[in-house]
Amino acid sequence: MTLLALSFTLLFVIATMLISVWQKLGLEKEIATGTIRSAIQLLAIGYVLQYIFRTEHVIYLVMIISVMIGVAAWNAARRAPGMRGIVWRIALSILTTELLMMGMLLGLNIIEPTPQYIIPLSGMTIGNAMVVAGLYVNQMRREVQSSKGEIEVLLSLGATASQAMQDVRKRAVKFSMIPTIDSMKTVGLVQLPGMMTGMIVAGADPVEAVRYQILIVFSFTGSAAITSMLLSILSYRLMLTKELQLRPIPEGTR
């Protein structure tokens, strides 16, 4: 695809902005910044990837995955404002998920140990883990809020932190996995997933593309479960004080 052809797609963006002005939606500025940001981010990552693929240096691979995890953890932690120490717990959950995932994929020779495979698959794993982690922390706070009474009953009967939080944890884990499970059920029927679409457009055999997609779907489900459970183990204690009382939940759920 030529750069010129790509530029023509900007017409869509401009059309959208015109509609926004015409309909007084007030979205022009956001559309403009969004367009510029995504273009710069994607182009930049393209050049970075090109460079990494050429040099094939492990250190770059580690660096780029660390950045991915850092950004993902920071982004997911925004769903739990005021919860101290949640960022590194999310980062640790995502990192563990990523290591297990790559360990399995590489160990079983499912993918080749080259950046071409490792980086995109890591990106998807980490991105999915980020969504799951964000959903988990958000739901955890809501569950605690709505189950205050139950938690206090358990505490007043001498429950440990883990006993008092068990039900709430279970519910939040379940909740955080719903989107992943739902999309597993409808994949291919409702939407053709991005990776498969991309491979087919780029000329790959559809059956081959489907195989990779199945791999992705299964790994996503596995990694969602791992991220969410690990995060629930690492973070439930944060909801209670040292003296085993419910910590007041800071305002703001987004």
Partner: protein
């Protein structure tokens, strides 16, 4: 011998600073409980009776002062073990998910002990719940049933000190009397100390040997129940008794 419970100059800051003359919800609350007894806690609402009980169970932290159980300060004790001995029963009964039986068995489940079915049955009977289907989902119970189940759920923990927060508030007279009777028998058998918040002066007179009157941001009177009802030591106490008595007469 160390006292069962010793409260020393306990204070709790008030949240709403602006519309109060004192920065405390209550302060300078001191009392010693030497032997198992039943203490009534009375006073106008909003005085912090519930908060005092919750603090004694460490569900809220004391802001000042100290509480000791059997000679050991709360600061030196694991809050979990503390709550096994000093158990708060809330005014608003909250059922845990599951059946009535699941709720009754909570304490035994938490502490890996055997669930005493016979004792549970006996307590259900004594509180007029003998016919209740224990397989029933606890969330379907009536308010009064919930309150009694919550109370029995705590009794089955067998704490040394029971903190009862208006536990007969949503009961009809007959059930309330049954609960009173059950608790008195329980105390006679188990030697449990009870600190019991109530709005019912007659209930206080029937059940307790000692009365705490909370007013003016502190524990204003700590007297033998007989003495308190015969003649409260403070003007606030006299007014309160008169007020409740006139209400009861209506």
């Amino acid at each position: 011998m160390a006292a069962i419970l010793e409260i020393q100059r306990l204070a709790k800051h008030s949240w709403n600073q602006d519309n109060r003359e004192s920065p405390y919800l209550f302060e300078e609350v001191s009392a010693v409980i030497q032997q198992p007894e039943c203490i009534s806690v009375i006073g106008p609402s909003g005085q912090g009776k519930s908060t005092l009980l919750r603090t004694l169970a460490l569900l809220d932290m004391p802001d000042q002062g100290d509480i000791s159980y059997a000679g050991i300060s709360y600061r030196e004790k694991d809050p979990r073990l503390w709550r096994k001995e000093i158990c708060y029963v809330a005014q608003q009964a909250v059922m845990l998910p599951g059946s009535v039986e699941d709720n009754l068995g909570t304490a035994s489940r938490l502490h890996g002990e055997v669930y005493d079915v016979q004792l549970a049955e006996q307590l259900l009977e004594e509180t007029l719940l003998a016919g209740l289907d224990r397989k029933k989902n606890a969330s379907e119970l009536s308010g009064g049933e919930k309150q009694r189940i919550a109370l029995i759920r705590s009794l089955l923990l067998r704490p040394a000190v029971l903190l009862l927060d208006e536990v007969t508030a949503s009961l009809d007279n007959i059930s309330a009397r049954a609960v009173e009777h059950m608790l008195q028998q329980w105390q006679a058998r188990e030697g449990t100390t009870m600190i019991w918040v109530t709005h019912d002066l007659e209930q206080a007179a029937r059940t307790s040997s000692r009365t705490w009157f909370m007013s003016g941001g502190t524990l204003l009177e700590d007297q033998q129940t007989i003495d308190f009802f015969r003649r409260p030591a403070t003007e606030a106490g006299r007014q309160f008794v008169r007020f409740l008595a006139s209400e009861a007469a209506l």
